[in-house]
């Protein structure tokens, strides 16, 4: 089976990165013939790097994926005076050791693209940790500016940093900033421009003579020995000393590369040295932290209790096993409350104006056109892609909540308290919120799975997401359960939602143990300090995600909707005699196992376009009722409760809709995984349906 999400061979990914980046930059309408200064923004997660990027580029940015990777790539343009700057937002990483895709992307970009300047955005209230990334960056041959962000938050926590002294100690420019309040940005641009454009960096306006951390004495000789062995054999663009250090650190990618560069005999020598120093990484890192301590000793003053403050008080509740769950539950409940009180009514309004009215208008005004034209537009385009578009208000609420949680730092706490449960199904706490998003719509759940920190966890999150019942399925469920089970409707509804979650957990355990075996990524994660959310960042977050969602709705989802509509209308323009109906009839023997007649099978197939379609199709096929109102009265007379239970079970567990399939295809980068998930869910849903039918019969619901 294809393994698209594991790391590409380094050589291939580099070429892709190179060509794609140039292309992106060219497409950002920069004046031709001018020299563009390329600036890379590096930094740990949660240091306000995205805020800085948004502040500088505003809407003048392009968001996509790094070529061949599922890591988000953001490129934007801004101007410093009349010098155009191309800003590349590198993924947030704690180090540059190629332990994850993000780290590989970040360092490949710096090594191969050689940006004119790298800006390291650091959180002034957590400098010790943030400077670790600097200690790694300083080994690379690019000039670095330290953007000391969130100095206001740091002061609130009693941490004062002397930027001038820090700059002296590091030998690189340091710019204090409060990006959320637009402070220090102009100064940052000035420094960047000076560093990029001054011929001689040592004598320019901002002298640049970095002091790098040294190895501890016991490893210096080892490093020297390694350097001698690899000398002259390291191809561009890799710096020899950097390669030697990475070898000593045990960096997997560099080790593989070096094995290819060196002759067999030399490699054996290198290998035996490395073998004797297998745990050198801890000493090297220890040396870096020691260097950081020395640098900060003269530049930072901590007053009072330091970080014992708001964060500590809040975390006593937010990370408590019991209260933490209660807070998370309350946050989730609030999200659903907003969805049902604000999102759903707005969706109703949008449905009226995007689907219902245009459909009616088209039907009356296009009466001169052939019936298939009207059918294509109303039942294909509007019912499929149009309906997807009506989910925008609900998604906006989900994304805004997610952006809010991420921006304040709460997201990491939610991950923390859910980790215990997610662990059982092979996922980490971080994967909980994207899955939770699935209750709104599965598409963003799949898009959000990328927050997982290993390709394996991301894939597992994607494959499991379709089992979270989305609002469309919940709509069908509540409507039909009320029609069939009257007083028991609530129990049936709850039972089926519960079934979905149980199946999700079981499937997670099975996939985790059998299919996606391998090392579960380590759960080591920093919990950032809480801070005030930035409205602009959250707005841009919502905007980018909605735009990506809508772009999909008008392209692949529309195409797929039209195909399924064509199957339901051809050859005679009547669903009862269509190809889709023929498929339903062909599936009738299978359906009999679940007590489902061909009409119900057709309804299931039609739900592939959008889940709520099954109601509309049942309306057409049963008694010709046009709307749900008539349908719910007719159905119980035609279908036994046992069959209805089976139908609802299948519907809840059924294959993902077209939009979700498209999302799986895009996020895993292969049709193989999308089809794998489709087949898996097909089997599971039919098995579930068969079991539900038997249970229904046992309960005496057969007639």
């Amino acid at each position: 089976m294809a393994r698209p999400m594991t790391a590409d061979r380094p050589t291939r990914s580099l070429a892709g990165t190179l060509s794609c980046c140039d292309q992106q930059l060219r497409s950002m309408n920069l004046p031709s013939g001018t020299d563009v200064v390329t600036v890379a923004l590096a930094g740990q997660p949660n240091v306000g790097k995205t805020t800085v990027f948004n502040l500088l580029t505003g809407l003048n940015q392009h968001v996509g994926n790094w070529p061949g990777k599922t890591v988000e790539q953001k490129i934007g343009v801004c101007h410093s005076g009349n010098v155009p700057l191309a800003l590349v937002d590198l993924p947030g990483t704690y180090s540059l050791t190629a332990g994850s895709e993000e780290e590989r992307v970040a360092r490949d970009f710096i090594l191969h693209e050689r940006p004119d300047v790298v800006v390291l955005v650091a959180d002034a209230s957590n400098l010790e940790r943030n400077l670790y990334l600097l200690s790694e960056l300083l080994l690379l041959p690019v000039p670095i500016v330290l953007a000391l962000n969130m100095v206001d938050v740091a002061e609130e926590y009693g941490i004062h940093t002397d930027a001038e002294a820090l700059s002296q100690a590091l030998g690189i420019p340091v710019v204090p900033m409060v990006a959320s309040r637009n402070r220090g940005v102009r100064e940052l641009l000035q420094v960047v421009q000076a560093l990029a454009c001054d011929g001689d960096r040592n004598t320019g306006a901002y002298p640049y003579h970095p002091r790098r951390p040294q190895l501890r004495p016991d490893h210096r000789d080892t490093l020297a020995a390694l350097l001698r062995l690899i000398q002259g054999r390291v191809p561009e663009p890799y710096p020899e000393e950097w390669v030697a250090i990475k070898l000593l650190e045990g960096d997997r990618e560099v080790t593989e590369l070096a094995q290819g560069w060196l002759p067999q005999g030399t490699w054996q020598e290198v290998h035996s040295i490395l073998h004797r120093h297998e745990d050198a990484i801890l000493d090297i890192a220890g040396g870096r932290y020691q260097w950081i301590g020395e640098v900060l000793a003269g530049a930072q003053i901590r007053r009072g209790l330091g970080q014992v403050g708001l964060t500590e008080r809040l975390d006593r509740w937010a990370t408590h096993p019991l209260w933490g769950m209660a807070i998370l539950g309350a946050a989730a409940a609030l999200m659903f409350f907003l969805v049902y009180t604000v999102g759903s009514p707005l969706q109703g309004v949008l449905e009226e104006y995007v689907v219902t009215r245009p459909s009616a208008w088209l039907s009356t005004h296009l009466d001169w056109a052939p019936a298939w034209v009207t059918g294509l537009l109303t039942d294909g385009v509007l019912a499929g892609a149009g309906t997807m578009a009506t989910f925008v208000p609900i998604l906006a609420i989900f994304f805004a909540a997610l952006g809010f949680f991420e921006d304040t730092g709460y997201m990491a706490r939610a991950a923390f308290v859910m980790d215990r449960f997610m662990h059982a199904i092979g996922l980490h706490g971080r994967s909980f919120l994207p899955l939770f998003l699935g209750f709104g719509c599965n598409v963003p759940a799949i898009m959000g799975a990328r927050i997982a920190d290993s390709p394996r966890a991301r894939l597992l999150g994607i494959l499991l997401a379709p089992l979270v019942p989305c609002t469309a399925r919940l709509g069908v469920l509540t409507t039909l359960a009320a029609a069939f089970f009257g007083p028991y409707a609530f129990v049936v509804t709850l039972g089926l939602v519960g079934t979905n979650l149980v199946v999700l957990a079981l499937l997670g355990v099975v996939l985790h143990r059998l299919v996606l075996r391998g090392e579960q990524a380590a759960f080591i994660m920093e919990l950032p300090l809480y801070h005030r959310p930035n409205g602009r960042s959250i707005a841009l977050f919502v905007w980018h995600h909605l735009r990506a969602f809508l772009a999909r709705a008008v392209t692949i989802i529309m195409a797929a909707s039209v195909v399924v509509w064509a199957l339901s209308a051809l050859p005679a323009g009547d669903i009862g005699s269509s190809y889709l109906a023929a498929m339903g009839q062909a599936l009738e023997p299978l359906g009999r196992l679940m007590g489902l007649g061909w009409r119900l099978m057709v309804a299931l197939l039609a739900s592939f376009v959008a889940k709520e379609n099954s109601l509309a199709v049942m309306g057409v096929l049963f008694a010709g009722a046009e709307t749900g109102a008539g349908l719910t009265e007719v159905l119980p007379t035609l279908i036994s409760p046992a069959s209805a239970l089976a139908f609802l079970t299948v519907q809840m567990l059924f294959i993902p809709c077209v939009a979700t399939m498209a999302a799986i295809r895009k996020e895993t980068g292969s049709w193989a995984w999308a089809l794998f998930d489709l087949c898996l869910l097909l089997v599971i849903s039919f098995l579930g349906g068969a079991v539900a039918y038997q249970v229904g019969l046992l309960l005496g619901w057969g007639a």
Binding site: Y94, S95, T97, G99, N126, L127, E128, R129, Y132, E249, G250, D251, R252, H275, E278, D279, I281, L282, D283, I284, A285, G286, Y289, G306, Q307, T311, E312, D315, T319, H320, P321, A412, A415, F416, V417, D419, R420, H423, G429, E519, A521, A522, F523, I524, M525, E526, L527, P528, L529
Partner: protein, 98 residues
């Protein structure tokens, strides 16, 4: 072979009787990191997060189930129980020092 040599080396360096894993420290307890074990990937993560020999680590949360929350190099770091069991620490005699 590799395994034997490494574990021999680790035990020689440590006085084993007063060394324990991070997992066994309770909330408020402070320890000094002595070493870590694990594959390359995990060692890299430990290193980047600052679990290097000589670093002081304060346990903030350890409820006996679920991940731990610790303070190390001025940052709050969550780590799973499996990961915590791979960090060797020498506990300080209660309370904060220095």
């Amino acid at each position: 072979m590799a395994w034997r040599s490494r574990s021999a080396c680790v035990s020689r360096r440590l006085a084993l009787d007063d060394v324990t894993t991070l997992l066994s420290l309770g909330p408020g307890q402070v320890g000094t990191v002595v070493g870590c074990s694990g594959g390359r990937g995990l060692m890299g993560r430990f290193a980047a997060m600052g679990f290097t020999p000589g670093s002081r680590v304060t346990v903030l949360n350890n409820y006996g189930r679920g991940p731990l929350l610790v303070l190390i190099h001025g940052a709050r770091v969550a780590l799973g129980r499996g990961e915590a069991s791979r960090v060797l620490v020498r506990p300080e005699g209660g309370g904060h020092r220095g």
